[in-house]
């Protein structure tokens, strides 16, 4: 039995570290609580000009952009020029929780949305994250935080929502690594033990100092474990931007949270809606997804059973050793029986923690740590996709990715790419500096990560991500550029998340026809398409690739978690005409939006709210030199089998498709001919899907939002029209 209260302490030098802090600049504000979900002001900090100011939130901003990701994109648009790069001082990091963020009555209401120009994609990235920062900042008095400029040396930004003080302090001594930084700053800025629950820290890590795939960790203080727990804004390299600005941490100290601090218009309605969902979770989770005991890792063996688990760089979809990293093994490894919600009041509580992990590599070797996760993406990305079916190596990688500030998804996909390059002789020991990147080599994976954190060796190259590695390898004459393009799983510069999309045309679009790159939080349609066969036509798929991305976007506008939408459903959901939409929960969201903000909407207006921001982001991409059809291309491995081994692994299926879909006789074809015919057909299908999706979204055939569509959805703003007209 692991004692979940015990771990290595990092607090021995806290007083020395505190005394080394020097004030750089400061400001003050009047702490306040939101009214109907909004404070109607945001906080702007410029580290270059040493400026702190408040900005008003206008009614138009709320009407058009709602909050969260919408506010982030709006502020970013105003901050940057079309020529701005991620490491220019004018690039911003914007953090906003949205109007529903901070509710404690409805599960999954604690998300923050983080927006910046991505080092990986050079276009806006949005990433959602749990932890207490967003709600505590909101209950201090701000709907968003903008950080612009760069500090001269490492700083901590401290927002004291109890005293109304903002301090930017030089902080030279503390580790930047998140598992230490979050714990130290929680203790440093809390007045006493009780006050630690009012603290949340944003930190990154040494890896983000150099790699382009840096993530942010948002903490919350786990009073039972006595440790700052971590959730990640993982995608797109925002941690890299954070460290480029020389921010070591952002710390908020909010008031002690009470149930009514969002000051909703109708708290009884919010409460009653929440009670119904709490009951569903209590009654149904053990029969449905097991989120309370396994978190999203419940998906691991399900994906393998349905041939969807990425194995060895998305070559295959299942593996016999999946039993070693299956959901039940994580259920055994996670500490059970203590609350694990990443925000207060979330009875789903899927932020599982593995206590007592003894670190076996790197600078923290021998330390006892609590690892947050792994979630499904991490188990698949660091595990199966690299041929690693060893729970301890996955925990080790999870721990170091988090504390070094590295996105587990981008790192997992980058690591699997170089492992396949090793398999195919594109890489060898001379080129990797002696690291043997064989499938399943957990120690090699860790060495890449440690090198990444030290900015040395082949690990530093891997930290640049798949797109840049493909270019570099081709320039060096390592491997066939066409093969590298086919097997390097990135689009727009962002690495694919961890689902095999080869057999689902809709999911191929769900990954590639996105604003920010191939992240499954826009659309996850694999089962609807491939297994349930609910969206057989191009028009069906196009509708799904309209509705679901818009519906999911809405969570990011409001500060909500997607998981309570459809990872738990009412027992009678099967009676509805559209069980995949979970109509009762859609109505819940309509209800709580009205109950918090006082603005009555219906389910169509909910989609329309998202559509405004989604199209704004598409035009933003255009403004930054992206956002056209040519930018929505997918690597062929996401569409079909690249190699002979892949084809042969599913020969029966592919031969059948040649016969039934193309009228060809596979018996009369060579393997190369079959692979070529399959490719030609699948690439054509993807183009036809793209046509249908653009049409359904109101875009031209080149992917540009049509002016009349922008007008129809209320986004005929001159600034958008000016950008769009250049592409018509």
């Amino acid at each position: 039995m692991i004692d979940y209260t015990k771990r290595t302490s990092y607090l021995g030098d806290l007083e020395k570290q505190r005394s080394a802090h020097k004030l750089v600049f400061e400001g003050s504000f009047n702490p306040g609580l939101p009214e109907r979900g909004y404070n109607n002001r945001t906080l702007y900090i410029n580290l270059s000009t040493r400026t702190i100011k408040e900005k008003p939130v206008t009614e138009q901003m709320k009407e058009i952009f709602i909050g969260g990701r919408g506010f982030g994109l709006w502020y970013l648009w105003n901050a940057v020029k079309p020529t701005t790069k991620w490491n220019d001082p004018e690039n911003e990091i914007i953090i906003s929780p949205g109007p529903l963020g901070g509710n404690t009555q409805y599960p999954g209401s604690g998300k923050s949305l983080v927006v910046s120009l991505s080092p990986l994609t050079d276009i806006p990235i949005d990433s959602n994250v749990g932890g207490h920062f967003g709600p505590l900042m909101k209950f201090s008095g701000f709907d968003a935080l903008e950080i612009q400029g760069k500090a001269e040396s490492d700083v901590v930004i401290f927002i004291d929502g109890q005293k109304g003080i903002i301090r930017v302090e030089e902080a030279p001594l503390e580790s930047v690594d998140s598992h230490i930084a979050a714990d130290i700053f929680t203790h440093m800025y809390a007045a006493d033990e009780f006050d630690r629950r009012n603290i949340s820290v944003i930190a990154s890590g040494k890896g983000a100092d150099h790699a382009l795939m840096g993530c942010l960790n948002f903490s919350w203080y786990d009073i039972r474990r006595g440790v700052a727990r971590l959730k990640q804004a993982g995608r797109g390299g925002i941690g890299t931007v954070f460290r480029d600005k020389k921010v070591k941490a952002v710390v908020v100290r909010g008031p002690t949270v009470k149930g009514d601090m969002n000051r909703p218009a109708d708290i009884d309605r919010v409460r009653n809606t929440g009670i119904r969902l709490h009951r569903e979770i209590h009654d149904n989770d053990d029969k449905q997804c097991h989120m309370r005991t396994q978190g999203t890792a419940h998906l691991v063996e399900v994906m393998s059973d349905y041939d969807l688990l990425p194995v060895c760089n998305f070559q295959y979809g299942s593996h016999e050793d999946v039993k070693n990293i299956a959901s039940y093994t994580w259920g055994e490894r996670f500490t059970q029986g203590i609350p694990d919600g990443c925000w207060l009041g979330c009875s789903m509580g899927c932020s599982k923690g593995a206590d007592g992990h003894i670190v076996k590599t790197g600078p923290y070797k021998g330390h006892s740590v609590t690892v947050d996760g792994p979630e499904y993406e991490t188990a698949a990305g660091l595990g199966s996709n690299c041929g690693i079916f060893d729970r301890d190596w996955i925990l080790e990688g999870n721990f170091y990715c988090d504390t070094y500030g590295i996105d587990t998804i981008s790192f997992g996909t980058s690591c699997s790419f170089v492992m396949e390059c090793w398999q195919r002789g594109i890489l060898n020991a001379e080129r990797t500096g002696g690291i043997e990147l064989t499938w399943g080599n957990g120690a090699a994976q860790m060495e890449l990560l440690h090198q990444m954190a030290r900015n040395e060796g082949f690990g530093a190259i891997v930290g640049q991500g798949v797109a840049r590695m493909k270019k570099l390898f081709a320039e060096k004459g390592w491997g066939d550029p066409k093969l590298l393009a086919d097997i390097g799983m990135e689009a727009k510069g962002l690495e694919y998340s961890q689902y095999l999309s080869k057999e689902s045309l809709a999911q191929q679009g769900g990954y590639a026809l996105t604003n920010k790159g191939p992240q499954h939080d826009e659309a996850w349609l694999i089962f609807m398409d491939m297994v349930n066969n609910q969206i057989p036509t191009f028009e069906d798929k196009a509708y799904a690739l309209f509705y679901y991305p818009m519906f999911r976007t809405w969570f990011g506008l409001c500060g909500l978690c997607k998981l309570p939408w459809n990872d738990i459903v009412p027992a009678d959901n099967y009676k509805t005409e559209t069980p995949a939409k979970v109509p009762e929960h859609v109505q819940n969201y309509v209800d709580i939006f009205g109950a918090v903000t006082g603005k009555i909407i219906d389910k169509d207006e909910l989609i329309r709210q998202s559509e405004r921001v989604y199209n704004f982001q598409r035009v933003f991409n255009l403004r930054m030199g992206s956002g056209l059809r040519k930018h929505d291309k997918a690597p062929y491995r996401s569409l079909g089998p690249v190699t002979a081994e892949e084809y042969l692994s599913r020969q029966e299926r592919y031969d059948k498709q040649l016969r039934e879909l193309q009228g060809l006789d596979p018996e009369a074809m060579s393997l190369d001919e079959k692979i070529a015919a399959t490719r030609a057909w699948r690439e054509k299908q993807f183009e036809l899907l793209t046509d249908a999706v653009y049409k359904r979204r109101g875009w031209t055939n080149d992917g540009v939002p049509k002016p009349e569509h922008l007008k129809e959805i209320g986004m005929d703003l001159p600034m958008l029209q000016e950008v769009v007209e250049k592409h018509l």
Binding site: C289, D305, Y306, N533, V569, A580
Partner: protein, 65 residues
């Protein structure tokens, strides 16, 4: 023949819902089965026979991470 999620599937005498799910590898714990539009509760899977020509819908309620 029967139809499973609008795709043709061989039928045999005595085929019940549970054996169909087993044979198709539909092991996910959270699914909805309808035969000719009629909902089949989980506890009836073994007893509910499928007739030749039936239209079977097996909806997996799974939604990704």
């Amino acid at each position: 023949m029967i139809s499973v999620n609008t795709r043709e599937q061989p039928w045999r005498e005595g085929l019940n819902v549970q054996s169909l799910l087993d044979e198709m590898g539909f092991i996910f714990r959270h699914i909805i089965v309808r035969i000719n539009g009629e909902y089949v509760p989980e506890e009836a899977y073994s007893a509910r026979l499928i007739a030749d020509g039936d239209d079977v819908q097996v909806l997996h309620l799974i939604a990704g991470g």
